[in-house]
């Protein structure tokens, strides 16, 4: 069975660009999460979907971050416009009511 798939694995963007990160959850999972990981802040929740409905949009991340789940097997995280402080690893995770499984992440560098 495929786990959580994230693409791309690495992304380099110039300040001000728009980037879109993609995630395919584990088939059949109904919860999907986007996290951001940095050395200073650790793991921070950006968005949380339950059965494709947005349950949480991460408060402080509303401004330039937009997560969407167009169908149960695909989600995107758009950052627009990017800023250097957005450089981090972006992790997608999914679960079926219980245990959460993570993808390998997308390492974003904004220059």
């Amino acid at each position: 069975d495929a786990g959580v798939t994230q693409t791309p694995r690495h992304e380099v963007a110039e300040k001000g660009q728009t980037i879109i990160l993609k995630c395919e959850p584990v088939s059949g999972h109904n919860d999907l999460f986007w996290y951001r990981q940095t050395k200073i802040q650790g793991l921070e929740l950006l968005s949380y979907f339950r059965s494709k409905s947005l349950m949480e949009d991460g408060g402080a991340f509303k401004d330039r971050f937009k997560a969407e789940m167009l169908n149960s097997s695909f989600s995107t995280l758009k950052i627009q416009p990017t800023e250097p402080k957005d450089s981090a690893v972006y992790l997608c995770a999914s679960s079926l009511d219980t245990e959460v499984f993570f993808g390998k992440g997308t390492r974003l560098t904004v220059v």
């Binding site: 919860d31 999460f33 650790g42 679960s95 219980t98 499984f101 993570f102 992440g105 390492r107």
Partner: protein
Amino acid sequence: GDKVKQSPSALSLQEGTNSALRCNFSIAATTVQWFLQNPRGSLMNLFYLVPGTKENGRLKSAFDSKESYSTLHIRDAQLEDSGTYFCAAGNTGNYKYVFGAGTRLKVIA
């Protein structure tokens, strides 16, 4: 303050020795997960717990929801156990997990 506090923040272990990592919660948690993040950054699932204990090979974990803590015991540490261990607290009915800051473990020969 931190809702999920992990201790110690860093640890160095001689190969073959034992140790315990701890997670204290200041939020109501009904489930706990433990992960190991390897040097490449992948988060691997170690345990998913409701109150009680689980064991898997050289690892054993316990979760006490009344006292609001969880532990992860590593027995006979091996070099491949090196990485960052995260605990995360969850609540049935609200499946967002709150993560601790992690424990960086280095196992040395």
